[in-house]
Homo-oligomer: 338 residues x 2
């Protein structure tokens, strides 16, 4: 990307050092890069609010991103996603790794930085500047999660997180999509959750790079593992392709977490070697660009002159104009405003 | 809307009689206008498939629309929406009124034209050309329900339906929005559904033009009616404004259905007199135009040259370009393609 690619006058269009960034914004960027929690929190709040101030800030952070290992963590309610997240945080912290957590699960106990179900253990992290925890609502974003999630990831990434855990409940379609754009996706299952793997929502099983059978000390875990193994063996997969391992954990007791981290490291190494790592990140960037462009266009629809739109709407209502013709005029007006 | 408003060469842009409609398309339009069920079904299938063929067809139908009384019917699962819909169909048919039914409730027994829960009663309608029943899935539409619903309504309307019942489960936001764009919105409640009106999803109660307490022969219906009455009296409402009545029904026995139709007729008369009828239809047309314009733009995003988009995505992935700058370029490319 050269300077010649960018149109004259669009100052924040290139990297590094976008002109026009205020002293306060520069300070915020520096503080976030240094991993100061309040700066990170302020940036993610800007992401949530879809603030206009975000644009130059994200431009300034762009060069600092791409380092974190983004780990998606999904599964039906009750499989132990939050407990597993807490166990992973602990294990990564023991290794001196800086961790970001982004929870999109509305029922997640990660709220306001506190893990309610596990409050005692989490209190140690409250004062640990090596852990950032943020819960985001999945509603109310003009661009949807597909805009907010990658931006929040990028903030954690620029703040020096080596690992970012993204916890989503494996129910909504957009939550599944987020988990699917991670570098490594963990699909959690647990015995006794009804009808075995049938209990997992369609679409969730396909995205698993690693299957985690949590609560593996309970009855039915062997049968569940057999079911998953059969499903994995049935999938059409080349000899060079990653074959999802099954890791047994009892997250509440910290069992199996080291093995899980080992499986994650393996997945990263193999994906980097095969090129699928970069390919998936390309896909993630493309998805994000598309979502952001659409959000911009959606905003422009809302900004259209109400009088003209009312005139079109009245013509459609009264049968004098068909809705496609009206939409074409609106589309052209939006295009002309870009 | 005059011919001068439309750009030269865009043949299907004006009404009536768009040039370029094939003989087969003209035949389909004529058959739909005559209320022939197969033609109506084919048009709604085209709506569901977001077919390109739809554009000239909808243009041809535009002048025939705007006559039907669109009645939204919403409420939590279990309140008796489908039974009430069936009872309304029967009562309207007794009055010689042609009825269309559009069900967006995934759990609705209206599927493939058959009402499972009430199959015996519905069999008489299967051969009744005065009733059109269609169930639509709420997923998979590029434009979402906000595009598909008004188009399907328009097909029923052009086919001569005097009344179109739109059944949505009062749970999803888009379902609530559809119910809210009806000419008259019925909010159904029933006693014994948990915590009285608290059981209704936030946002549903606000859109009711008429409240229906179904299963009114059961315990708790008086308490429920008192609750609704209190809620209605608390709402801020001018002396000229419509005050939602509460109608008691036992839909399974046909009780209260005549009163419900009377309340619907009252609502229509008063709304037409006050101008709110036309105002709401203006809002509906505006919402539809916006949704269709956005769907067009979304399609253009997908049609963008993959190579250029991949180049942008690679630059974003590698930190050489921030995602806003990339989205700006995509947005400009889309605008240039309109």
């Amino acid at each position: 990307m050269t300077a010649a690619d960018s149109p004259a006058g669009s100052g924040s269009d290139t990297e590094p050092d976008p002109p026009g960034l205020s002293a306060a914004a520069n300070e915020l960027i520096e503080a976030a890069r240094a991993g100061r929690p309040r700066a990170v929190a302020r940036l993610i709040t800007a992401v949530e609010n879809e603030s206009d101030a975000l644009r130059p800030l994200m431009a300034a952070l762009a060069a600092d991103t791409g380092r974190a290992h983004v780990i998606g963590l999904t599964g039906a309610p009750g499989v132990g996603k939050s407990t597993s997240t807490a166990a992973l945080i602990g294990a990564y912290r023991d290794r001196g790794v800086r961790v970001g957590v982004l929870a999109f699960d509305p029922s997640s106990p990660f709220t306001g930085g506190a893990l309610l179900g596990d409050r005692v253990r989490m209190q140690e992290y409250a004062l640990d500047s090596g852990v950032f925890i943020r819960s985001m609502a999945s509603r109310g974003h003009l661009g949807g999660l597909s805009v907010a999630a990658p931006q929040a990831l990028r903030v954690f990434d620029a703040a020096g997180c080596d690992v970012v855990l993204v916890e989503t409940v494996g129910v909504g379609q957009s939550e599944v999509e987020i988990a699917a754009t991670a570098d490594s996706t963990l699909v959690l299952l647990a015995p006794g959750m009804g009808d075995g793997i049938q209990a997992a929502k369609a679409g969730v099983l396909e995205i698993g790079d690693i299957f985690v059978v949590n609560k593996a000390d309970r009855d039915g875990s062997q049968a569940l593992i057999r079911e998953i193994r059969t499903m994995i063996s049935l999938a059409d997969r080349g000899p060079e392709e990653w074959r999802p391992p099954i890791v047994r954990t009892v997250a509440s007791a910290g069992e199996g977490i080291d093995e899980l981290i080992g499986a994650l490291d393996n997945h990263r190494s193999q994906a980097e070697a095969s090129g699928s790592w970069q390919q998936r990140r390309l896909h993630r960037a493309r998805t994000e660009i598309e979502a952001l462009a659409l959000a911009t266009l959606r905003r422009r629809v809302r900004l259209q002159d109400g009088t003209e739109l009312d005139r079109l709407a009245a013509a459609v209502r009264d049968g004098g104009l068909d809705v496609y013709a009206a939409a074409d005029r609106l589309t052209r007006a939006i295009a002309a405003s870009v």
